[in-house]
């Protein structure tokens, strides 16, 4: 018998936003149902409705049964008795879900006391047990620590411990790994697995990440426009998807193995306030037929294991490549060998320390050297806090760095006058991560694009023509010019951001996580656009990203950063094929793959521990505390070298474009 049964659930937010439109599913004991969808697909509204946490004013219709008991229509007080005891939630943002003024041990103990009526003492003891279960080292002591004393990954663990404190029968996890680094993400998924095994709970795993679902879920439900468009056992869904949207989603995913190029899904998700009468995906669907617009298609059985897809044109989706034809690698042949092309950006021994109290300093960037040559893309990868964004901002300041030297297009930034700097800004432009926060909400697209032109003295009469040209260049329509950023979809807004950066015809573009904030289906489109623009406008890119799968599809060369230093740099293809530094290897291992089989087979946690604290001083190799290579070293002499000698970047081989900062690089080959 299933634990959680949802039948024909509708959720409508005021005034008339139809977030969920008739979704049905069930989850059995110990089963993980992955709910996958892009922003606006209704997956979070679904989770909140299941928990009875829909915001005031929301109308919830249909049925949610937890072990046969109806939850829809229960009062909040009645739901409160169930929540935390029978059904629990792992929230997306643990910092705001944990109270900052109580210790984590007390907070977990509280949930136990409230529901189980245990004594304070027993509840505390249980809290420590739970913290041990989710892998908090030194749990008895850490139970007395406050939430801010934990790292992001550790906080997630605490959240999970709290959720399973009362042995719930159902667990709802909303983006449990959102915003985490890949190495930590892998750890958290492991903890979630442990938690499920310990409680035997039915798990509803809500995420946008198909890679996460592949390894962690038993069955997957794909949501689009408030509908469950396809439900299937995980292997079935990844290998034989039938709904065009699922096919497109899987094909648009950038893959770290570089097997296929991501294919974008054109268009934007439907408006939830005014959904089309028929299939919500029909306007973007490459195989849509007239009938698609008639009525909402009901899910029909299409395969074994309860595989259902909501599509009226199933005959067209049997061959996946016919729906979204694979793109051929259109990367143009490189014009000249690397050493003959001019250097457009050169960073030498860059240092940036942020002074703290007590004579301490955060060593955000601590001696970074690289260069970018004309016509190439350098990808700068690393976990959050490794200093990659600081490198970018230091370059953009166009001022004398704290230490080292930055040369942009042959000009040393330390010796620039104000006029020189402004002139150089024409050639050096930036695209930010979040398009909505990088566009002034009070300006229309036309005004946003006109700003750099006006600032650099383009005659007023010529501006509108150039604005229109820019819109066309990034694939936007003229009508977008009169819109405000809010009236754009995420992908469109990022295109505006790119158009603004291109307005002054720069030669070097710095991109900070250009697709990290976007939905998967539009990511591919942006990546394709960047590729095309680079070739057409003869640009060079420096792309900062945490996602190695994304970088695989844009970077010619790759630099991997750890704790303020580069640990490996060289030809991107070669690094992806054969990473040398243990950190690069671990990072690549940790990238979730949209392939259930491989996800289940691979090493569970490629890297232990948290990202390092950049204010802690270190003598030897900075990666040592987490290094699997160091852990495997037998000889004391070799270990000593790692402990006392900080490795610098060294050429691996004179004939190969690869530098590695590891004492044991040669043997690792």
């Amino acid at each position: 018998m299933s634990v959680l049964t949802v039948r024909d659930l509708h959720v409508t937010y005021p005034p008339d936003v139809r977030a969920v439109r008739g979704v049905s599913f069930e989850v059995g004991p110990g089963e993980v149902l992955g709910v996958v969808g892009e922003s606006g697909s209704g997956k979070t509204a679904l989770a909140l409705a299941v928990l009875g946490l829909s915001p005031a004013g929301a109308r919830v219709r249909g049925s949610v049964r937890l072990r046969g008991r109806e939850l829809v229509g229960r009062s909040d007080a009645a739901m409160s008795q169930l929540r935390g005891r029978d059904i629990a939630m792992v929230f997306q943002d643990p910092l705001s879900a944990l109270t900052p003024v109580h210790t984590v041990g007390d907070q977990i103990a509280e949930t136990i006391q409230v529901h189980a009526g245990a004594t304070r003492r027993a509840a505390r003891a249980r809290a420590v047990e739970l913290l041990e279960l989710v892998g908090i080292p030194d749990a008895p002591r850490r139970a007395r620590a406050y939430p801010h004393e934990f790292s992001g990954g550790m906080r997630r663990r605490v959240m999970i411990a709290m959720a399973i404190a009362n042995d719930p029968v159902a667990l709802v996890a909303d983006e449990p790994t959102g915003g985490l680094d890949v190495t930590v993400q892998a750890q958290i998924l492991d903890v979630l697995r442990v938690a499920r095994e310990a409680t035997g709970a039915a798990v509803l795993l809500i995420t946008h990440d198909l890679g996460v679902v592949a390894g962690a879920a038993d069955r997957v439900m794909v949501m689009y426009g408030g509908r469950a468009v396809e439900t299937a056992p995980v292997d079935q869904l990844y290998h034989r998807p039938r709904m065009p949207y699922t096919i497109g989603l899987l094909k648009s995913l950038p893959r770290a193995d570089g097997a296929v190029r991501p294919v974008p899904i054109d268009g934007a998700p439907p408006s939830a306030s005014d959904p089309p009468p028929g299939c919500p995906f029909a306007p973007r669907c490459p195989v849509s037929v007239a009938r698609c617009g008639d009525a909402l298609p009901e899910p029909v059985p299409v395969g074994p294991g309860g595989h259902r897809a909501a599509c009226v044109n199933l005959e067209a989706t049997a061959d996946l490549d016919a729906v979204f034809p694979p793109r051929t690698a259109a990367r143009p042949a490189e014009p000249a060998p690397r050493h003959r092309r001019p250097v457009v950006l050169k960073v030498e021994d860059l240092v940036r320390h942020y002074p703290q109290r007590h004579d301490e300093a955060v060593h955000a960037v601590d001696g970074v050297t690289f260069d970018v040559r004309a016509g190439e893309t350098l990808g700068l990868a690393g976990e959050s806090g490794c200093g990659k964004t600081t490198v970018l901002m230091e370059i953009l300041r166009l001022a004398r760095p704290q230490g080292g030297r930055i040369t942009v297009l042959g000009e040393d930034t330390a010796s620039l006058s104000a006029a020189d700097r402004k002139r150089l800004r024409r050639d050096l432009q930036v695209v930010f991560q979040d398009p909505f926060s990088s566009l002034d909400p009070r300006m229309r697209v036309a005004d946003i694009l006109a700003e750099p032109l006006a600032a650099h003295g383009t005659p007023k009469a010529k501006i509108p023509l150039r604005v229109q040209e820019l819109l066309g260049m990034v694939g936007l329509e003229k009508e977008h010019a009169s819109r405000y950023p809010r009236g754009l979809s995420g992908g469109q807004a990022q295109r505006v951001g790119i158009a603004r950066a291109l307005a002054l015809e720069p030669r070097l573009l710095l991109l900070d996580e250009p697709v990290a904030a976007l939905d998967v289906s539009v990511q591919a489109g942006i990546l394709e656009l960047l590729d095309e623009l680079r070739a057409r406008l003869d640009l060079s890119y420096l792309v900062v990203a945490h996602d190695l799968a994304v970088l695989r599809h844009v970077a010619d060369r790759l630099a991997v950063m750890y704790n303020g230093r580069l640990v490996e740099i060289g030809d991107a293809e070669a690094i992806y094929e054969r990473p040398v530094h243990p950190y690069t290897r671990a990072l690549l291992d940790a990238v979730p793959q949209p392939d259930p089989l491989r996800e289940r087979q691979r090493r569970r946690t490629p890297l232990q521990g948290d990202p390092p604290d950049p204010s802690a001083p270190s003598i030897g190799c900075r990666f040592l505390p987490r290094c699997p290579k160091f852990a495997s070293l037998r000889s004391a002499g070799l270990r000593r070298r790692c402990e006392t000698d900080d490795p610098s970047l060294r050429l691996l081989d004179l004939s190969v474009d690869r530098q590695v900062a590891c004492h044991h690089a040669k043997e690792a080959r």
């Binding site: 002034d440 003229k478 010019a481 009169s482 603004r500 002054l504």
Partner: protein, 331 residues
């Protein structure tokens, strides 16, 4: 709100076909967009709240300046036959204890108060916006110097300073405007500075800086417009505060002097006997309320006009993005 809707549709009608440069190459402005200012004016004209406030304010001005022309009595004339008379056909708003016509006094007072209230509010909010934004955006020694000045003015007993300076003011009441404004802007300036500090690290401000846009332009185009709500509310509140502040000064003889008068003075004089002789107090007080209502309506409307955030119609909610971090070094 409906105004925005209408005007934006007006805009998009022009540009739904293709985006090729050649399509519209003949026209000087291929996008054919109204300037931001024209757009704001158009929206203002369609905004019911703003227009109500504007019309009401216009009527109040008309009342204040046309009133003396129709009133049979002057503000400095005394009717020795009528002391503390309730409103009648002869004295429309009644008379005071000294036999002066309340209608004549009220319209006379309103002329002053409207000017003082509006000018002081605009001046002090403007000063606060500029000083606060410059201090917050520039940082460093400019910030320290400006904030030092703000703190100095905050601890200075303004009433004493005005009292000392009042001989210089003499009967020239317009001098009260800069004097009052000079002591009303500091708290707002601190607020503006604080908000600017957070706006400074917003990506769109960073983006503008990296595009080579100069600091004055960034302040004018990105910082201040995004503080518009705060500034408008501050200015609306400032109107009534200035009118009352002027009456306090006048009460002690530093502001508008008899036989001249102002709304604040009338309210202060009449409030003691408000229950026994309500007309002494009521007419001036209700006009003050009307002024404040008009200004607030206009302010609310302006805020709607300047804020592109859709609140009720059409547009879908902003997609939630997964953003990993913000800019700026560790704190």
């Amino acid at each position: 709100m409906s105004g925005r809707h209408v005007s934006e549709h007006g805009v998009s009608e022009h540009g739904v076909t293709g985006h090729g440069v050649g399509d519209h190459g003949v026209s000087a402005d291929p996008l054919d967009l109204p300037s931001p200012r024209a757009l704001a004016v158009r929206r203002l004209l369609h905004n019911r709240k703003a227009m109500t406030g504007l019309v009401l304010l216009g009527l109040l001005f008309l009342f204040a300046f046309a009133g003396p022309l129709v009133s049979p009595w002057g503000h400095d004339e005394v009717d020795f036959t009528a002391f503390r008379e309730p409103p009648s056909a002869e004295h429309w708003f009644g008379t005071t204890g000294s036999g002066r016509d309340v209608f004549a006094l009220t319209v006379r007072g309103m002329q002053k108060s409207l000017f003082i209230g509006l000018c002081v509010a605009v001046l002090s909010t403007g000063l606060a916006a500029v000083v606060g934004a410059v201090a917050g955006y520039a940082g460093g020694w400019i910030d320290r110097a400006l904030m030092w000045g703000v703190d100095l003015l905050l601890v200075l007993p303004w009433f004493l300073v005005v009292a000392v300076l009042s001989p210089a003011v003499g009967g020239r009441w317009p001098l009260l405007i800069p004097l009052l404004a000079a002591f009303m802007w500091m708290v707002t300036a601190r607020m503006v500075r604080g908000m600017t500090l957070s706006l400074r690290h917003r990506e769109y401000v960073l983006a503008a800086r990296f595009l080579g846009v100069g600091a004055p332009r960034i302040i004018a185009r990105h910082i201040l417009p995004n503080l518009a709500s705060l500034l408008i509310v501050d200015a609306s509140l400032g109107v009534s505060v200035a009118i009352i502040a002027e009456s306090t000064l006048s009460y002690f003889g530093y502001g508008v002097r008899p036989p001249d008068t102002s709304l604040g003075t009338l309210i202060a004089d009449g409030s003691g006997t408000a229950l026994a002789y309500p007309w002494l107090f009521g007419s001036a007080a209700s006009l003050l309320v009307l002024i404040v209502v008009a200004v607030n309506l206009l302010g609310d409307g302006l805020r709607d006009v300047l804020d592109p955030t859709p609140s009720r119609h059409g547009s879908r909610p902003r997609p939630r993005l997964r953003v990993r971090r913000r800019y700026g070094g560790p704190a």
